[in-house]
Symmetry: C2
Subunit: 152 residues, 2 copies
Amino acid sequence: MKRKPTPDHLLLDQQFCFALYAASRSITGLYRPLLDPLGLTYPQYLVMLVLWEQDGLTVRELGQRLQLDSGTLTPLLKRLQAAGLVDRKRRIEDEREVDIRLTAAGLALREQASDVPKCMAQRLQLSLDQMQTLRDELKRLTRQLQLSPTED
Amino acid sequence: MKRKPTPDHLLLDQQFCFALYAASRSITGLYRPLLDPLGLTYPQYLVMLVLWEQDGLTVRELGQRLQLDSGTLTPLLKRLQAAGLVDRKRRIEDEREVDIRLTAAGLALREQASDVPKCMAQRLQLSLDQMQTLRDELKRLTRQLQLSPTED
DNA sequence: CAAAATTAAATTGTGTACAATTCAATTTTT
DNA sequence: AAAAATTGAATTGTACACAATTTAATTTTG
């Protein structure tokens, strides 16, 4: 008695989601050798990108930007603080909120990070155009998912 | 004295990699309500997909397929074993290797999982064609990165 | 064939992710 | 204004990821 083979739609190689998951981890791995010298992990680098863009955000605002909650951000930010890259202090206007500010060292690190995107782009072997197209499709996808989380 | 603004290439919204990272986590979140009833996490679901496709792989072979190492797989597989979905035992031919086999319950779960891909596809709001195109681009990207990890 | 090298899992340690709860501060209601 | 509801971080607990080390088994070499 033969066993039914796996239907096509359950094959790993058919899964859009695995392709995404694998690509995401692959790329994080590609960042590692670039970020190690800066003393940053990839999620920490993302936090720094946001702060370089706009300093003095609260944990909540950082979370909105990066789609991460306080359970992830609080310990991550404490590590950035321990590394001397950010300061954390309660807002005077509202003591519930914690203000995250770059230190001088944190701001200075931006210069060192300045080459990272170019290095990555080279390693990715994608044209700028391909990269933008793919990026925008992914952004659209993410936006779509966040608008209608369970409906449809 | 004005501070230099962040150069464009360091803006979060410009980052291809953040788009990928955010999309990946978004989609994992979308799987959660579908997989919860099966008692699986998303990475556990991926392991099950591989085993449904080909039963009796070693930890190493599973790792190759999913790009995960034993540090991730060993505890994950122990949890699947604790859930009664797989058996783990040393190979007789080579006692270093651990053979992972579906239990009857593990095999039976495939029927329940059968609708998951269709549900996901619906929620993603992408045509089958768009999904395949995007998937194949991501696969190509991952393959590319694994071929030339640091060179170029 | 015994020592050295290699290999496969497991273990250890660090750092995310994220659900759920807690705690304190602020707003809203009554 | 006091009680109730809400909000923002932090905390707790579970589950990945992944580098690095350890352990045991097998191969390769001298």
